[in-house]
């Protein structure tokens, strides 16, 4: 999407459908819905030109609550359906709503390929580290040891990191946000919309029923400053109200959290965020509490050629099409049977 600012003709509530929202009270999805409606209004989106495609799960009910075109499809397949929508109608603004189970378990293959193809659409992956709609089984992003009905002794599996997956799959826009931090979430959605190609946003979303407070180690107000590193292109990688920051550990290719003023460290030692650097993005995406803060914001944004490609020979002329098809049918060896004199 090109970054233009048309006169705002729609307000957030124009993007709300008439359907009653049926998520659990207190679910993080409400906040994501609200932020999305706000972002759509602020980027000047038109409901009739906007399509939300989803798979299955709590997150995938998202399209029902937006007054745009919407398609609630089947488990894991939203990226494939959305690819078809976008390739058939390049003029439409296409969004995907998915979750950690939908996008990274049953639909991992499609998520990989939509990122690799760099189809021009936006993906919202709601990560709550649990299967909500099927009542609380562990998901592919659940941290090791998660107890759930299907893992009574705690999971023995290493979780997948959505942002690292997206970067590994060749995603050219990878961002992270938190459901309840509306201001940043809206800005990230707007940046995703402005990016041409696949934009991938991992939203840490709290499931109040099956996995409450799973992200509390970095989302609780008391620890937020210490544990959240909001990155901004061209700005130093600072957190803890500017008192701490990241630098390359001398002599290594590793990030290190340091305190300004300690051991002679000044702000000049802190790395500047370059959103076009994939190695930096990969290192930022890998940071984990408790030893490191969680990197949030636009970790990576580096546009390149995307699908759909502009047609090589311009628009098809419908009037000329029958003749063109006739010509194609006659290409190669043909022969003619004449009317026979004896018949």
């Amino acid at each position: 999407m090109t970054a233009v600012t048309p006169p705002v003709s729609f307000v957030p509530k124009d993007f709300a459908s008439d359907q009653e929202v049926r998520w659990c009270p207190g679910c993080g999805d409400y906040a994501i819905l609200k932020a999305t409606q706000k972002a759509l209004a602020e980027v000047g989106a038109t409901p009739d030109k906007t399509v939300f495609v989803s798979g299955i799960g709590c997150s995938s009910r998202f399209p029902y609550y937006l007054a745009t075109y919407g398609f609630h499809t089947i488990h894991g397949r939203a990226p494939a359906v959305a690819t078809g929508v976008k390739l058939a109608r390049p003029d439409l603004d296409v969004w995907i709503a998915t979750g950690d189970g939908d996008g990274l378990s049953i639909g991992g293959n499609h998520l990989l390929h939509v990122l690799r193809r760099n189809v021009d659409l936006q993906i919202l992956l709601f990560n709550n580290e649990i299967y909500g709609l099927t009542k609380g089984q562990y998901s592919p992003t659940s941290h090791r040891g998660t107890r759930s009905p299907s893992s009574p002794h705690g999971t023995q599996e290493e979780p997948v990191s959505p942002a690292q997956f997206a970067l590994g799959a060749g995603g050219r826009f990878v961002a992270r946000a938190i459901d309840t931090q509306q201001k940043q979430l809206v800005e990230i959605l707007k940046a995703a919309h402005a990016h041409r190609g696949t934009s991938f946003i991992e939203v840490f979303q709290n499931c109040v029923v099956y996995n409450d407070n799973v992200f509390a180690t970095f989302t609780e107000r008391a620890v937020a400053a210490e544990m959240q590193l909001w990155v901004a292109h061209g700005k130093p990688l600072l957190f803890a109200n500017g008192t701490r920051g990241l630098r390359l550990k001398p002599g290594t290719l590793m990030l290190e959290a340091v305190t300004i003023g300690e051991e002679g460290i000044t702000e000049a030692d802190i790395l500047i965020h370059d959103q076009t650097s994939k190695p930096l993005a990969l290192m930022l995406a890998a940071l984990q509490p408790p030893t490191m803060p969680v990197a949030l914001g636009v970790l990576y944004c580096s546009p390149t050629a995307c699908l759909p490609l502009a047609p090589a020979q311009g628009a098809i002329d419908p009037a000329a099409l029958p003749q063109q098809i006739d010509a194609a049918l006659h290409r190669g060896d043909t022969w003619t049977i004449e009317s026979r004199a004896d018949s």
């Binding site: 009739d48 919407g70 398609f71 022969w335």
Partner: protein, 625 residues
């Protein structure tokens, strides 16, 4: 390419007094995968078509891409049936078998018609090749070939001699062996050489020496026939032109015809064609042809898997294009969840299944008709849709157009069944003029007044196609049951009953939009009807036509529409004392007809990976009359 043409005089067909007139003939070329068998088969077919014969061909190649040279599993074959009459199949047993190595003889000899002719390249019958083919002794020296007529020619040596003046390496020179054989066969059946010579010039334009060598081999093979005829060693035949309707023809495989049918069907519906597929034998050629048609507005996607292919097609249909996907049995199984979504969402979608022998990987390059049940029933929930089957390579075009028509008429998925036999086989096809075909332009919804995404056309019961981007029609659809009136999510028990009923009624009502079932051959009622669907058309039709000539009371009924069935089918079948269902599975259509019409239908079934022969069907007729 003047310099490589032989003197004009030698190209004129010589009047021969001894050509034996034939009504039809079956020739089978066989050799190693690397011998260029498919190439000469196709060239022979083109020259045969241009001489006015009707024809059908069947390429029969191994599943391995480059099997070890000289082995029986590396044998590639190409069969052609051509005649002065209309040709319905690629023929049962060949009249003439060309075997370019011992392995080809080993594999193909058992299929030769009793008393048929074998042409062998003795030059390839080395001890090593005989051993690789599994022969203990030399079949040319013992009684192996006692049954028919064997023409032994050292084709390898004669080819080397013919191209010797050009100074090619022995390896390159021997590669012209197939053209020598083609020249001989051209002489045997009185074919012209000019267009093949021109074609060779074009094909090897970048290497004139190779072009010249191939032409030299072609001419040498032809000259060999002329000389032998004088000596009385080889008989020449003549096959008169067939009574084909006048027009422009081309040769098409079933795969090509499906692809062209989709292009034309989408145009007749005034829709953009979006085709998404994942490579699978034997369905991939449809993707290959359509991938080259971007200038006709066709969009293709090679998806990451079968599921993504059907889902992308569904997405394209949601967005207002004609979504199509294509596969074979195993891939169809993967697509089935998404096909049910298209049933629920009530979106047009065409799904091609080029069937192969299963289950699982089965015999990927061999044919079968065993996915009928899968097409009819292979989905979760009550998920009715339309199912069509193509009867021949050329019929694939008409069936693809019909599939598009039904899909957009009823806003429904339509499964088209082809198979590995008609998918790869070729047939002469009369090329239609697109402007002469009846168009069925789709009306997509534009009116926001009183719009509901699930309101229905009272005649077809189809819901409106409201395409994203249309002002005022923004709506949400999905797999959760939708309210009959509004299309919003509904968990109401009564509503689910009503929606299930209307989905079934919508497909049943398509029976009003399809032609009544006609008898393909024979009387409208009587003692015995042979019923078939799909690629069994040729053998059934030919067998019934031979039985009718003998005076037997037998009819041939062939189904194109398998869901819904034609409205008059039950009544038609009730007019016969016995119904014999001929199909390449264990009785899937038979079970359907029995359950649908309480009819005591019998079955003639075959699961060998090969099509029925005419003879097999004829014997089944004789057993019942």
């Amino acid at each position: 390419m003047d310099q490589i043409n032989p003197p004009v005089g030698s190209l004129q067909p010589r009047p021969t007094i001894s050509r034996l007139p034939l009504e039809s003939a079956v020739v089978r070329f066989a050799g190693d995968s690397g011998d260029g068998i498919q190439l000469i088969g196709n060239r022979f077919a083109i020259e045969t078509a241009q001489s006015g014969n009707d024809l059908a061909t069947f390429p029969d190649f191994p599943a391995e891409i480059r099997a070890p040279v000289g082995t029986t599993f590396g044998v590639s074959a190409f069969q052609i049936n051509f005649g002065a009459r209309l040709i319905k199949t690629s023929g049962d047993a060949p009249d003439v078998l060309v075997a370019l190595n011992p392995a080809a003889l080993k594999v193909e000899l058992p299929n030769l018609k009793r008393g048929g002719t074998v042409i062998v390249d003795t030059g390839s019958f080395s001890e090593r090749n005989l051993r690789k083919a599994g022969y203990a002794g030399n079949p040319l020296a013992d009684s192996t070939l006692a049954d028919g007529r064997t023409i032994e020619i050292d084709i390898s040596r004669l080819t080397l001699e013919a191209v010797k003046p050009l100074g090619l390496s022995q390896h390159d020179a021997l590669r012209c062996k197939n053209m020598w054989v083609l020249g001989l066969l051209y002489w045997m059946y009185g074919r012209e050489r000019q267009s093949t010579i021109a074609w060779l010039g074009k094909r090897f334009a970048s290497d004139p020496l190779v072009a010249e060598a191939n032409v030299a081999a072609l001419n040498a093979g032809h000259a060999y026939g002329e000389t032998s005829e004088v000596a009385g060693d080889i008989t020449g035949f003549s096959v008169a032109p067939a009574p084909l309707p006048p027009g422009t023809y081309r040769s098409v495989t079933g795969a090509d015809a499906l692809a062209w049918g989709l292009v034309v069907g989408a145009h007749l519906a005034r829709l953009k064609l979006f085709f998404a597929s994942y490579p699978i034998t034997p369905a991939s050629p449809v993707l290959h042809l359509l991938a080259r048609q971007s200038e006709l507005g066709v969009t293709t996607l090679q998806a990451e898997d079968e599921i993504a292919a059907v889902c992308a097609a569904i997405g394209a249909s949601f967005a207002g294009a004609l979504g199509v996907t294509s596969s074979s049995g195993p891939g169809m199984a993967l697509k089935s969840e998404a096909i049910s979504l298209a049933v629920a969402a009530e979106l047009p979608l065409v799904i091609l299944n080029t069937q192969r022998a299963g289950p699982s990987t089965g015999l990927p390059t061999k044919t079968e008709q065993s996915d009928l049940n899968q097409a009819l029933y292979g989905r979760h929930g009550e998920a009715p849709l339309a199912v069509l089957a193509a009867r021949s390579p050329a019929d694939c075009f008409d069936v693809a157009v019909e599939a598009v028509r039904l899909a957009v008429r009823a806003m429904t998925p339509v499964i088209v069944l082809s198979d590995g036999y008609i998918g790869n086989a070729t047939q002469a096809w009369q090329v239609p003029a697109v402007a002469d075909l009846p168009a069925f332009p789709v009306r997509q919804e534009t009116n926001p007044d009183g719009f509901s995404p699930y309101s229905r056309d009272p005649e077809t019961l189809a819901r409106p196609w409201a395409v994203p981007g249309t002002p005022g029609l923004a709506h949400r659809i999905g797999g959760i049951e939708r309210d009959y009136e509004t299309g919003n999510i509904s968990y109401s028990p009564e509503n689910h009953q009503r929606m299930s009923d209307v989905r079934a009624a919508k497909i049943a009502r398509l029976a009003q939009a399809i032609p009544a079932q006609a008898v393909a051959l024979g009387p409208d009622r009587g003692r015995l009807a042979l019923v078939g669907w799909g690629s069994t058309f040729g053998p059934i039709n030919r067998a019934v036509s031979l039985a009718l000539e003998r005076g037997d009371a037998v009819s041939h009924i062939h189904l194109r529409h398998l869901s819904p069935l034609p409205a008059n089918l039950g009544e038609l079948l009730a007019g016969f004392d016995r119904v014999l269902v001929v199909e390449g599975n264990n009785g899937q259509l038979r079970a359907l007809l029995r359950s649908e019409y309480l009819l005591d239908a019998e079955g003639l079934n075959k699961m060998t990976g090969r099509p029925f022969t005419i003879d097999e069907v004829e014997r089944a007729i004789r057993d019942r009359l």
